[in-house]
Chain length 145, copies 2
């Protein structure tokens, strides 16, 4: 589950701070660090709690695992991130909150964006009586050949 994170510079710290400010989250040292790793370079990123925890440790400013979990939860609650369910044993989090399709690489357990423009529904069923469609998850599972 190799994940490549933003190199941290002044710019990424600034970007992370803006990102937190958008959601009225207190810019603590830990949140700034995690935010920088997540959106420091303006790219969208897919992480697991464990992966982000390791990235923080590698970056030289460790954040406790509990705080990584709590922070990812806070980011989701604040609408900054979304949780993607692809694997029964692990949660994935995406810095992009739009409903979009994903590739899941079964060999490396890596989650990436699928080109959204190329996944189009010809039709979707009418939601059953009394229900509305909250979201449509599309996971394209890939195997190396």
């Amino acid at each position: 589950m190799e994940q490549d994170f933003a190199k941290l510079g002044a710019a990424s710290l600034k970007t992370g701070a803006d990102w937190l400010a958008r959601a009225d989250l207190r810019p603590t040292r830990q949140r700034l660090r995690l935010a920088s790793l997540l959106v420091g370079d303006g790219q969208s990123r897919h992480v697991t709690a464990e992966g982000l925890f390791l990235a923080a440790k590698d970056s030289g400013e460790p954040v406790s695992l509990a705080t990584v979990y709590n922070t990812l939860r806070a980011f989701c609650d604040a609408g900054l991130m979304s949780e993607i369910t692809v694997d029964a044993t692990r949660s994935y989090f995406d810095t992009c909150v739009e409903d979009h399709p994903h590739f899941f690489w079964e060999d490396t357990q890596e989650l990436t964006d699928a080109p959204s423009a190329e996944v189009a529904f010809a039709s979707l069923p009418e939601p059953p009586e009394g229900a509305r469609i909250a979201r449509v998850d599309v996971i394209i599972r890939l195997k190396r050949r």
Copy 2:
């Protein structure tokens, strides 16, 4: 997570036995019981381990939770069932092994089939170089209104 299971009669035991035989699985008392609950009426069914465990208990012939887990795993390995990932905290199993779309009722945590004919892709992306598409999961998340 109310799940309604097959009423067990001679027919359902027969059906369950055939189902096991198709996969060369030994027809033990526990497997026959679970198979009957799953495919006894020829309907496709979506279960969690806990739900199936309770159904067995209610049916008057309990099966231990560990065996329910091991058996569901065995049924999947044998190609009789498939595992559907919709919820990070629980695994769902489907007696239908074809790749087909699902409704997930967020309020009751219930998983049902979506009318497959009505979910058509206009297009799917080309799998990235060196990969092939193993499966495409479509989960339509529903909220009650």
